[in-house]
């Protein structure tokens, strides 16, 4: 792998076959590190490359990234503990999602992973009680915007974001894994019922449900932002747990297509590769749209996927109203 690769494939290949990075020149390392930071995967890369004989400066940057990820892990788990304590009186089991779940369960996907907000899943029937308990325990609403607030409450799969007033950390409280406006309605109760306790009072989704969630988040919800990291999660989960029963579980949630695509793309980026269709290639073009300065590239393609993500989440009339409201409120620049 020389200095020729100048998009996200540089990062993907380094993660897939760490030894190949030894052929990088200084320009290649500079690009790889900038890209990994932009994709929030520098910690993952650092753990993946640990033990290789790297240039001294690179080794130091990656050692710092590991330290940073470790501190992030501590903070994320403490935040989960704080939420567990806040919700314990309600008898609501605390089901962790995404990054915090990976580190709480000590999964390979959690090694070096950057973790932002705390994402949790609670029963929809308990949403009001959970909200009240969190407000009581020191969390506050982030924004007072009435349109956003009403929008969240009416249509989204989560409460408007809350932030803890002392610890400055955000929590996203989900009651399912896709917006209510999306055309697919996964079985939220089934997710909770199959969850697994990984520490006293802390639960995570079953491995197959984690895969379903990752796929849902990537293809039926988001605009593929953070997609390289998301697919790394998928690849790690598949390598660690296999895919037994996954087809049935995906079908049960109505997400067969999305899960199959996630597996194909993860294999293409980080695994042994697999047969891809034309749409898959388009997705990969979008996912790897990143240059050696960490900049987002391929803007037209990004925009296309952005509009698509909204299309998937909302019926057309609602989409028009949403974009109109957002546009009117946007600052003139």
């Amino acid at each position: 792998m020389g200095g020729a690769v100048k998009d996200g494939w540089l990062l993907a290949r380094a993660l897939r076959t760490p030894g190949n990075t030894l052929a990088l020149d200084s320009e290649g390392w500079t690009a790889l590190i900038a890209m990994a930071r932009a994709e929030q995967m520098i910690g993952t890369l650092a753990y993946r490359l640990e033990g290789l004989r790297l240039p001294e400066t690179v080794a130091r940057i990656l050692a710092d990234a590991r330290t940073s990820a470790e501190q992030g892990r501590i903070a994320a788990l403490w935040e989960a503990e704080a939420a567990r304590r806040a919700l314990a009186p309600l008898g609501v089991p605390l089901v962790l999602l995404k990054g915090t779940a990976f580190v709480a369960a000590r999964l390979r996907a959690g090694e070096g992973r950057s973790i932002g907000d705390l994402d949790i899943l609670v029963p929809r029937t308990q949403l009001d009680a959970v909200e009240a308990a969190l407000l009581e325990a020191g969390w506050e609403w982030v924004k007072p915007d009435p349109y956003d607030d009403a929008y969240y409450r009416q249509w989204m799969h989560e409460l408007p974001p809350l932030i803890h007033r002392e610890r400055d950390r955000m929590i996203d409280v989900h009651h399912t894994i896709l917006p209510l406006t999306a055309r697919i309605a996964p079985d939220a109760e089934g997710l909770l019922a199959a969850s697994v306790e990984v520490a006293p009072g802390l639960f995570v989704l079953s491995p197959n449900d984690m895969l379903v969630h990752a796929a849902a988040h990537l293809f039926a919800d988001g605009d593929l932002a953070g997609g390289m990291r998301n697919l790394w999660d998928v690849q790690c989960l598949v390598e660690q747990f296999g895919t037994r029963g996954l087809d049935d579980r995906a079908a049960h949630h109505g997400l067969s297509r999305e899960v199959a695509r996630a597996l194909r793309l993860a294999a293409a980026l980080y695994g042994e590769g697999t047969a891809l269709n034309a749409a898959d290639r388009l997705y990969l073009r979008r996912l790897t749209a990143r240059d050696g300065w960490g900049r987002a590239t391929r803007p037209v393609m990004r925009l296309g996927f952005y509009v698509r993500s909204h299309w998937l989440r909302m019926p057309p009339a609602m989409l028009a109203r949403h974009l109109w409201t957002k546009w009117r409120k946007a600052p003139k620049s």
Partner: protein, 91 residues
């Protein structure tokens, strides 16, 4: 209030530096630094790892110190703070 058992966080999870009337404590499980002042260090030292009940704590403090204000609500408030910070656990 049921007489719960209160325990100081295990010493290997803390780093402590006595500064002046304040003591700096780094709590490894949260990554958060706290500056604590009287009566918090005294409460921690009294509870110890073995821990004791609220009632026992109140009695022990009262015999070890000249308590200017023996107030259950105040002692409970101090304990709540320590529990929230993770420096004391309840069982």
């Amino acid at each position: 209030m049921p007489d719960r058992l209160y325990r100081m966080e295990r010493p290997e999870n803390l780093r402590v530096a006595h500064l002046d009337s304040f003591t700096a404590v780094y709590h490894r499980n949260s990554g958060i630094t706290h500056l604590i002042t009287a009566p918090a260090p005294e409460i921690l030292a009294t509870l110890g790892e073995a821990g004791m009940t609220f009632t026992a704590l109140r009695e022990t403090l009262a015999s070890a110190y000249e308590l200017g204000d023996l107030d259950d609500a105040a002692l409970a408030a101090r304990l709540d703070e320590l529990v929230a910070a993770g420096l004391v656990s309840t069982a």
